[in-house]
């Protein structure tokens, strides 16, 4: 399936979406750019630290509300720029959690339980201050009425047992999109390197779109099942997408592009410059291949991963 078709078939205006990856690694950027190009808006976004992809979706005006743990992108933007602007100017509804809390929410969704417990956040403003207004939650009937809840530990017996826990409500997005190194034609997924929370996000969603660097016969995926993380029957669309995480990294395939990310950082700070960025790099191309062409073979080659490291050793990242 083409990315354009996968996005238009599953990602609808106003839908609840989550994307895979972490800050500047394995964000499903080809999908993100396609969502922007198709001008799908009013998205309700669930994120832990999904960095670059989240910032671009917010910057392009696709996002109405976000539940998030971390709006940053490593050294290239300790706070994501369009995320920061959107919050400081009241452009989006937002709700803050921690990374583990968001991971637990995806896990709860994947496991089919209404909540999971943790002791993280007791005593903090993550528990005290709620970003979504009660009116917003009341109107959004798919959201739980509570950001989270605290309950006493009913099994407490010893002094060292935790006296209470925070209950985090499950998330079940309409769609999760992840980008991976390898997938079978039927959809079986193999992720190389860190999985972040991709597996939990994928299982929590009603629909799953997978883009991959390498698409192989399903049978080939069965030779080393230990390398696979998701079975084919979870996947709604498989898109073969070369450099599909670009400009973020894809371990073993290519690095993040420091040049592109620095350019983004510079342009994202100014609304007019940002519009020109979108015009040239997103709306100005028909698909991800054309973005890659625009960036140029030479630059893509420069960030190509080497063996055995899996990243572009010696790459100029200043």
């Amino acid at each position: 399936m083409s990315m354009a078709e996968a996005i238009s078939r599953f990602v609808k205006p106003g839908c609840h979406l989550s994307i895979g990856g972490f800050t500047l690694n394995r964000n499903p950027m080809a999908a993100v750019y396609e969502i922007i190009r198709q001008r799908i808006d009013n998205l309700h976004l669930y994120a832990h630290s999904n960095g670059q992809g989240v910032d671009e979706l917010i910057g392009a005006g696709c996002v109405r509300a976000i539940e998030i743990a971390y709006g940053g992108n490593g050294r290239f933007a300790p706070t994501c720029i369009r995320f920061r602007k959107a919050i400081e100017t009241g452009q989006i509804h937002f709700e803050d959690y921690s990374n583990y809390q968001m991971t637990l929410r995806f896990m709860a969704g994947a496991m089919g339980v209404p909540f999971l417990p943790t002791t993280s956040g007791l005593g903090t403003d993550i528990l005290q201050k709620w970003g979504f207004s009660p009116e917003f939650r009341e109107a959004e009937t798919r959201l739980p009425r509570e950001k989270l809840l605290v309950m006493d530990n009913p099994f407490r017996r010893q002094d060292e047992d935790p006296p209470k826990v925070v209950l985090l409500p499950a998330v079940n997005p309409d769609v999760t999109i992840i980008h991976v190194q390898k997938a079978g034609r039927e959809g079986t997924v193999s992720i190389n390197g860190l999985t972040f929370a991709d597996v939990e996000q994928a299982k929590a969603a009603r629909h799953l779109i997978v883009s991959c660097e390498e698409l192989v016969e399903e049978d080939e995926m069965r030779l080393e099942p230990g390398e696979n993380q998701l079975p084919f029957f979870l996947v709604d669309a498989v898109v073969h997408q070369f450099y599909g995480a670009y400009p973020t990294a894809c371990y073993g395939c290519y690095d993040y592009d420091p040049q592109f990310l620095k350019m983004y950082q510079r342009l994202a700070k100014d609304d007019a410059l940002y519009a020109s960025y979108l015009g040239e790099y997103v709306y100005g191309v028909d698909n991800h291949q054309q973005l890659c062409d625009l960036v140029g073979r030479e630059q893509l080659q420069r960030i190509r991963a080497v063996n055995p490291q899996g990243y572009a050793a010696g790459l100029d990242r200043r």
């Binding site: 500047l24 630290s49 709006g71 583990y100 991971t103 943790t118 005593g123 490291q309 990243y311």
Partner: protein, 254 residues
């Protein structure tokens, strides 16, 4: 004139505190530099551990984010967020972890703000938010905190309490339901601070070569005990060599 940067001084001061065989949770930037330095200075068998799930990475180049592919190479394990945080919440492994954190604001009890300055709903300055910081601060045995020693950072009351330190002191951390733990050391570009064993209030524990206590006090907006302060030894040649040659030969963090 020093021949090392203040960032390098901070990294070294934190690295010296890390114990051998500790599991070192680290974030980006300076905290990663400190963790890498520790393996060469005081704690050769310490284990670098990232919230993204990477354990004991072979860091041939400095990662620019905890999800940088550089953390995934030659690890003992490449897991995910769920594994990483569970290791810190686990009753047996959590206490063995030292977390290195940074923040925009800190209060007298070592609580941290990395979310927002001003009104939470429409803040004057929005930061990235917790990420894994709140989780680490909630779970692990002890934390080391990096701060810049400038005005507005050491405040009596945080605009938003993102990551728990000792909360209001006097056992309030445990009463809130958190494990023992909390910050042990605050490292800035001018000084180091520790926390009183009983009251859990911050005190000035040391100041860097050439820095005057008054200069530090100017930036701290709450009453601070300075009587225990001693000079902090400068970065040694050997330490500097380790930092520049082994940890960050590309000079990405200076």
């Amino acid at each position: 004139m020093m021949d090392y940067t203040l960032t390098e001084m901070m990294a070294v001061v934190a690295a010296r505190e890390i114990r051998d065989e500790e599991i070192v949770f680290c974030g980006t930037g300076i905290s990663m530099l400190a963790a890498m330095a520790a393996k060469h200075i005081s704690a050769p068998r310490s284990v670098i551990f990232f919230e993204t799930g990477a354990i004991d990475s072979l860091l041939e180049e400095i990662p620019l984010a905890v999800a940088d592919s550089r953390v995934m190479y030659h690890t003992a394990l490449n897991g995910g967020l769920a594994d990483a945080f569970a290791t810190m919440q686990n009753p047996f492994t959590g206490p063995r972890v030292v977390g290195i954190l940074g923040a925009a604001q800190i209060d007298p009890f070592g609580n941290l703000n990395s979310t927002a300055i001003g009104d939470y709903d429409q803040p004057r300055i929005r930061f990235s938010g917790s990420g894994g910081a709140c989780d680490v601060a909630s779970f692990v045995g002890r934390t080391i905190i990096f701060m810049r020693q400038v005005k507005g950072r050491f405040v009596e009351k945080l605009d938003y309490l993102t990551s728990p330190g000792y909360l209001d002191g006097n056992g309030s951390r445990q009463r809130a339901g958190l494990r023992p733990g909390g910050p042990e050391l605050v490292v800035t570009d001018k000084a180091v601070f520790r926390f009183d064993e009983k009251s859990k209030r911050m005190y000035l524990a040391g100041y860097y070569p050439g820095i005057k206590v008054a200069e530090i006090m100017e930036t701290v907006e709450f009453p601070l005990d300075c009587n225990r302060a001693v000079p902090v030894p400068a970065v040694t040649d050997k330490e500097l060599q380790i930092l520049r040659q082994k940890c960050d030969p590309q000079g990405l963090i200076r």
